[in-house]
Symmetry: C2
Subunit: 251 residues, 2 copies
């Protein structure tokens, strides 16, 4: 950590950071990946800085990979948080002091940082959370029962969730979050978990089918008394196109 | 301009800029506000830098106000453009040289800039375009017939338009773009202009009414032979709530 702090000004773009809100979904539960800050009671979003010659989106992928082990994940920039007062040099100064690190007032870590917010959606049973050098723990926390977060991280998290819910109107979701074959109730449950509300079964089915991103698989005879539910999978070329161009059924 | 260039490193956050895609709509035409760069054939988006103690969104409002005279306008951050190669020091160096300004290699204007993209929607007959100190003209250009743009500004513009179209699925638009009282065909025409496609009249009416943001005004007898079309106005409290929370009729 000392190297990182001392050499940061050389290595990273000044004044700019990024924070990732990594949502995890598994068996109808919504979680978010948080780091417990060393020497403080607050938790933090996984975040980092951008190398001087690094693409900003690549930097976000790097942070996601470092904290979760995952790559090739849906990761989306959603907002820039740029209030002058959001950076809190004193907070960092106190934490570092407890580790015996004292830095001059003009040190790069104490400058104003504008942060770029990203959100990601992952199946949380696939993830191996890894703390960074400022943290003692990296764990999943229930969206409904969050610990105290540092600085404006709670606001960043809340806005990520609002944005994710709005994006459901024009982005497909579900790939990588559900098994390869799934039932309509499984897909509906995923939407209900993200939206935190019940949806009407018929309306859900009509609407989701109208997007044209699902393939209904051949029914398999199971020899059971009542009819097995149909299985679906995503039609990947159509899913990818919808990710780029937006879902049908908007305007 | 010389003052700005010499003192910029003191005044502004390093490495960070913003660019505004200002869409203008008037009588079924879509335009975008562009600046003709001095000493170069390319055009540019209105943009600027962020003062060291200035909120990022406030900086965008300041730029919009400086170029258009307008404030209180719907202005939305939509993406960060952060490729390392997007900044082109040579382009700026050549332009400045033609003005007799030669700067050292490490000058702040020649660093890598990450830029924050905003878009705005305005009624373009209300706007008095004002060039900035790098530009010789500031004018409206047809969306369908754009001149060559500098750096990655064309990509920024295209992405703003794609985002605006997607946002129509969950954001209301029209306030400040239409007269206070308007007909359903006027509102439909605005959507058609933005989307660059025809919409079905009945479906449009059903969907837009389902959002609950319109008030139908009392029909006024005009003494003409055939029925006058109903006039509508936006229900502002509901419109503002929808801007914040998203339109009804999503999930």
């Amino acid at each position: 950590m000392r190297d990182f702090i001392i050499n940061g000004a050389e290595a990273y773009l000044p004044s700019l950071s990024l924070d990732c809100v990594i949502f995890g979904f598994h068996e109808n539960q919504g979680k978010v990946l948080l780091l417990k800050t060393k020497n403080a009671k607050q938790w933090a979003l996984p975040g980092g800085f951008i190398f001087k010659n690094e693409d900003v989106d690549e930097a976000a992928k790097r942070v996601l990979k470092e904290r979760t082990g995952l790559s090739e994940i849906f990761l989306k920039q959603f907002n820039v948080f740029g209030e002058p007062k959001r950076s809190d040099a004193n907070f960092h100064r106190k934490i570092l002091k407890k580790d015996g690190i004292e830095l001059a007032d003009g040190h790069w870590l104490f400058q104003r940082f504008v942060t770029i917010g990203y959100y990601a959606l992952v199946e949380y049973s696939y993830v191996n959370p890894e703390p960074d050098s400022f943290s003692e723990q990296c764990t999943w926390q229930d969206i409904d029962d969050l610990p105290e977060l540092m600085m404006d991280h709670r606001e960043i998290l809340d806005q990520a969730l609002r944005t994710l819910r709005q994006h459901l109107s024009y982005h497909p979701i579900g790939y990588n979050l559900l098994p390869q074959k799934f039932t309509m109730p499984q897909l509906q449950k995923l939407y209900e978990t993200i939206l935190d509300k019940k949806l009407d079964r018929r309306n859900f089915q009509r609407k989701i089918l109208s997007y044209g991103i699902l393939k209904r698989l051949k029914a398999v005879k199971k020899g059971v008394a009542h009819k097995a539910p149909y299985l679906y999978s995503f039609d990947l070329p159509k899913y990818q196109r919808a990710l780029k161009e937006g879902l049908q059924g908007g305007w």
